[in-house]
Symmetry: C2
Subunit: 337 residues, 2 copies
């Protein structure tokens, strides 16, 4: 690897001058600058970031600790962070703790040893997590917020997501709306349900069947729940039957659509279906394509990164930042007018 000294030697100047020439500083004659630049190109000189880090005390790297790299939700967040870092001359060190706090601690130590300027911790699920406590560098919790309100967190507004979904169904002229949520062990399942119930209540409605159903995030649960609904005597009644279903995830919706199709229920004419997550592959692969609530996870990742960069600059902003969701409309819901 060529060093600045090599460049300086080739250009016939001192390292000091070479440094100034390459960094567009004053006190260098244009011809000299030119000679240095040419020498640098000729030698394919790349300044050693590590050495600079020593001077500035900044490594220009952030630690990216994830908990389910193979999961559906971490990746978009990661992409957002990586994108924000790349445009800001920062690089991200990737670590996968796989949900294990021991692995997390191990990676944390390794990252601190590398003198990362900050950390983004991406949770495996949206429920709040234990804080890492005071660390020598700022930390932003993404997706899963920290339990400590003094920490910086960026997360999703699941309640608003549920509300948006129902409001859209109502706007489609639906009023007998069933709600099939996901795994009750997840806070998000409840929050989405709460938002949905709030929107129903605001319109003077109650969920079809009287209550929200909880199960799991799977297609299989979507199928079971739908069969349970259809088993009720008034399910397909023209006046009192279901005319809309809000699903806790695209996978659930996928199961729902399968059963509706099998039973000859027309979607969206007879029943409109709206789901959460907007997982392209599921949402566009199904028949009909799914209207779904998008959490804007990549945006969430970008925000997390930018907040971290601000904190590194000394402008920390404690508290939870909530990224609003929005609806992506497709065929499974039929908007009126």
């Amino acid at each position: 690897m060529t060093t600045l000294a090599d460049v300086a030697a080739l250009a016939g100047v001192s390292v000091a001058t070479a440094s100034k020439a390459l960094n567009n500083r004053q006190q260098v004659a244009p011809t000299t600058r030119q000679r240095v630049v040419e020498a640098a190109e000729q030698l394919r000189f790349r300044p050693n970031t590590l050495a600079k880090s020593l001077l500035t005390g900044r490594s220009g790297t952030i630690g990216l600790v994830t908990h389910d790299l193979d999961g559906r939700f971490s990746i978009p967040v990661l992409m957002g962070v990586e994108d924000a870092a790349g445009t800001g001359k920062m690089s991200a060190l990737l670590c996968d703790a796989r949900g294990d706090s021991l692995r997390e601690a191990y990676h944390l130590q390794a990252l601190l040893g590398r003198r990362v300027d900050g950390l983004v911790v991406v949770g495996a699920r949206p429920d709040p997590r234990e804080s890492l406590g005071r660390l020598p560098v700022p930390v932003v919790y993404a997706y899963a917020p920290s339990l400590d309100p003094e920490d910086m967190s960026v997360t999703v507004d699941h309640e608003a997501g549920g509300r948006i979904g129902v409001e859209h169904l109502i706007a489609c002229g639906r009023s007998r709306i069933a709600v099939i949520s996901g795994d009750p062990a997840y806070g998000a399942a409840h929050q989405r349900a709460t938002g949905a119930l709030a929107a129903l209540g605001a319109a003077g409605l109650a969920p079809w069947g009287g209550e929200v159903l909880f199960g799991s995030w799977t297609e299989s649960w979507g199928r079971s729940a739908t069969e349970m609904f259809l088993a009720r005597p008034d399910a397909r009644d023209a006046e009192r039957g279901i005319d809309g279903i809000l699903c806790g995830s695209d996978q659930i919706a996928r199961g729902v659509l399968d059963v509706l199709r099998e039973r000859g229920v027309a979607v969206p004419r007879e029943v409109s279906v709206v789901s959460h997550d907007n997982w392209e592959l599921f949402a566009t692969g199904s028949r009909p394509q799914l209207t779904s609530v998008d959490m804007h996870l990549e945006d969430l990742g970008r925000r997390a990164a930018n907040r971290l960069f601000e904190a590194i600059e000394g402008r920390a902003t404690p508290g939870i930042d909530v990224v609003p969701s929005s609806l992506v409309m497709r065929e499974s819901s039929l908007p009126t007018g």
Copy 2:
């Protein structure tokens, strides 16, 4: 951040002794070593990796350049690399070039500036890619091999995958096997088909319908292809009809299953279905669950990383390393006996 000097001061020794104590060197009395270790723990001392890197010329980091972070196939490879790095005291700097060679070049420069010890380049699709040429550090191409045979590459044996799939169907007692491949723009689509045809030929068979169908990797194509097959007059003939289908991907298989189900074709009794990729979510969410060829991508990533580490140690091994696939059996194929 605490330095070695702080630790030495607290332990009442010199930095030299503290260094020797913490690095298990000779010339330190056991009691002294103990004092130093305790002081280090008390102060949460983490040696500055950057400072050491300057001395040794090794940064202990590798660059991880991916081309579709949100894609299905990069992630498992990434996980494998990250896992191998973590156990080997290395860290991975993540970059997403998003299929753009300009972005790739930019990230490459940034990584070289950070003095990474090596690079793993993960392709977006399995087709061979342009070599990056001679770089000051070793490079391993993962998933998408390099066109230059002197480079180090680790990739998938798609032909064997196709063979394995057909051999399994034959072992299930099937002999009238249709092959629905994916996007013909992908080499993998052809290689999988070639392997399938070879296995059929070895058993004295030809694909049902006379040829392999190419389309895209989508569910929609799986549905269309199946409908085309079923539209033939002898499709469901007891003697000459289809009794097995090999699909180019789980998504295609998903579409295939949907149509078979709609048409009342029993899977696996009447027709056995085998697919590629073993994407858990698709393979286990379908009815019946899919038998699928697994590419062992995480293993591929681990191999790539380990080969890179060997190259960094000076033991480079040019050439293409092919990771064998294997079958994961589920309900969609009915093994006999």
